[in-house]
């Protein structure tokens, strides 16, 4: 296994750092998959994670100017590492002003992702900074757990309202209830609802629009075919999980969508430049 990469473009470095920082706010630990073309940050939807699934994909070429990756074998030409994204984020943040950043897979006292850079100083000499971020190699027999999730058979797909507005509302709702119902319909409406013994609060978003794939994806004569466009599809989720997703967002995505499988799962998709982030929140009874 070998990994050697160099980041020379400061915009690419900034963007990569932002992505890693976002991931670090979503999960403490995740899997980093490196293939010849892409990088993936993955969380598989296991009970241990509270059923949360995450899939973040970016192309290697938009991060690295030089990239040499040799996977576990020629048939399985990829590297799979378990990493604490916050450690990686912290290391990257310290080298933002560097002209070149090297990323290598190394073996110190344990396998590490080593981030190394020369930083300019006031004097003519530069300062070399090296961070060894410990990682765990994920054995091949476990790789099946970290495959790209398939698009769920959703009942409705809708564009999300401005994330900042959603975050403000969800932050307040969290003071009032532990659970929140997300519902949406085929005419671009979405509601966020909480209900307790003390209070019920519903926030109504309108004119959001529905992504074009929404029409073909609800297929196979499921309940959706006979559904009226204004009928709401809903899922009840743990409000902290939705809040965590919203807190993590650092940039306004160019596209933000939500697919809901009635009473099963909320699937959030954010696209920004060439980075895509999918987040799955399971419904609770």
């Amino acid at each position: 296994m070998k990994l050697r990469g160099r980041i020379l473009d400061v915009a690419c470095l900034n963007r990569f750092t932002r992505v890693v920082t976002t991931i670090s706010k979503l999960t403490k630990v995740c899997v980093l998959r490196l293939t010849p073309d892409n990088l993936f940050f993955v969380l598989s939807g296991k009970v241990a994670n509270g059923g949360i699934g995450m899939w973040c994909e970016l192309s290697q070429a938009n991060v690295f100017d030089e990239y040499q990756m040799e996977g576990v074998s020629s048939e399985d030409n990829e590297i799979c590492l378990e990493v604490t994204p916050e450690n990686l984020s912290r290391a990257l943040k310290t080298v933002q002003s560097a002209k070149a950043v090297k990323v290598k897979l190394t073996k110190k006292h344990c396998p590490c992702l080593t981030i190394a850079a020369e930083l300019p100083t006031m004097s003519s000499t530069s300062r070399v900074v090296t961070h060894d971020v410990p990682v765990d190699i994920v054995p091949r027999r476990l790789w099946h757990e970290f495959k790209e999730p398939s698009m769920p058979d959703f009942h409705v797909s809708v564009y999300l309202p401005p994330l900042k507005t959603m975050k403000n509302v969800v932050d307040r709702m969290k003071n009032l209830s532990n659970f929140l119902v997300m519902e949406a319909n085929l005419i671009g409406e979405m509601n966020l609802k909480i209900e307790t013994d003390l209070v019920s609060v519903t926030t109504h978003f309108k004119d959001l629009g529905n992504p074009p794939w929404g029409d073909d994806a609800s297929q196979d004569g499921g309940p959706s075919h006979s559904r009226e466009p204004e009928a709401m599809v809903q899922a009840r989720v743990d409000i902290r999980k939705l809040q965590q997703f919203l807190m993590g967002q650092q940039v306004n995505p160019s596209k933000a969508m939500c697919n809901i499988v009635h009473e099963r799962v909320v699937h959030l998709i954010l696209l920004h430049e060439d980075v895509s982030l999918q987040y799955f929140i399971p419904a609770v009874a």
Binding site: M173, V201, H204
Partner: protein, 286 residues
């Protein structure tokens, strides 16, 4: 705007409808009395009075006149209910309570009467949130029997001067002692920590004097020398009202009961009042 297009028919079922273009004109003043979870709302054609009490020794009232509201319709002489104030404030600030210029949350507050929830319609940037908060039968607020005829001493001060002093006060001390007198020291308050007192005597107590001819003093009417003590823990919530206010009136009556009245200007420069009543602390042997 969605809120104002509610039909006439809907309105007829409500005994109280109060609307504001800027919900902060209500939420800010309620924050100044929000030291307990429950508040008693009392509406009359004059406006809204919100009361919060603590252990029958402290009472805070916020008065928002009908003229402050863009719409204030009441179908009975008096409408009263009790709600969870913490929940109400979370609802009024549902869009995050941003203070960005030009951005405000519009509010329409509606109540159908006994047994019905308090319904709030809030709108910001085209997004509407509807809240229904359960109400309870209102408790009878304590009547402190504080009337102007029994007032022995009264001062009106600009809040600036008190704000500085209160920000320096040690809020962990137990007692605030207020002296009002027609002669020196005129108006003084002393922070007392009773435990320290027994070991160190009077030294180490901070005291603040306001002479009657001070710039900050707008009115000084003290007929007799009075010194009273109040539990600091009871007065602490009043500092929120002080922070919002531009003027404060301090009055004591013959029993030593304290009335603090704060003049508060809202975002639109309109005037509202907040009032705190506090019982004196039992005399303690020094």
């Amino acid at each position: 705007m969605p809120l104002s297009t509610q039909s006439q028919a809907d309105d007829e079922q409500y005994v109280l409808v109060a609307s504001l273009d800027n919900a902060r004109n209500l939420s800010n003043i309620l924050k100044a009395i929000a030291f307990k979870d429950h508040a008693i709302f009392s509406a009359t054609p004059n406006g809204l009075k919100v009361t919060v009490e603590d252990s029958k020794c402290l009472q805070a009232n916020a008065f928002i006149q009908a003229e402050i509201f863009q719409e204030f319709t009441i179908r009975e002489d008096s409408v009263g209910f009790q709600v969870n104030l913490t929940v109400l404030l979370d609802c009024l600030n549902i869009f995050g309570g941003s203070t960005a210029p030009g951005v405000s949350t519009a509010l329409r507050m509606c109540y159908k009467g006994y047994g019905y929830p308090l319904t709030l319609f809030l709108e910001e940037g085209g997004v509407v949130t509807v809240c229904k908060i359960n109400t309870q039968e209102p408790e009878e607020p304590v009547d402190f029997e504080f009337c102007s005829t029994n007032v022995t001493n009264k001062v009106i001060l600009q809040s600036e001067s008190l704000k500085e002093a209160f920000s320096e006060l040690d809020m962990t001390s137990e007692v605030l002692q207020i002296t009002m007198s027609p002669s020196q020291p005129y108006f003084r308050f002393v922070v007392k920590n009773l435990k320290l007192l027994s070991t160190f005597g009077n030294s180490g107590n901070a005291h603040y004097d306001y002479p009657k001819d001070s710039d900050m003093m707008e009115l000084f009417r003290c007929d007799k020398t009075q010194t009273n003590r109040y539990k600091m823990s009871l007065l602490k919530p009043s500092t929120k009202a002080l922070a919002l206010s531009c003027k404060v009136s301090v009055r004591t009556d013959s029993r030593g009961f304290l009335s603090l009245q704060y003049l508060v200007r809202n975002d639109d420069g309109q005037i509202c009042f907040v009032e705190y009543f506090c019982c004196p602390d039992e005399e303690v042997e020094e």
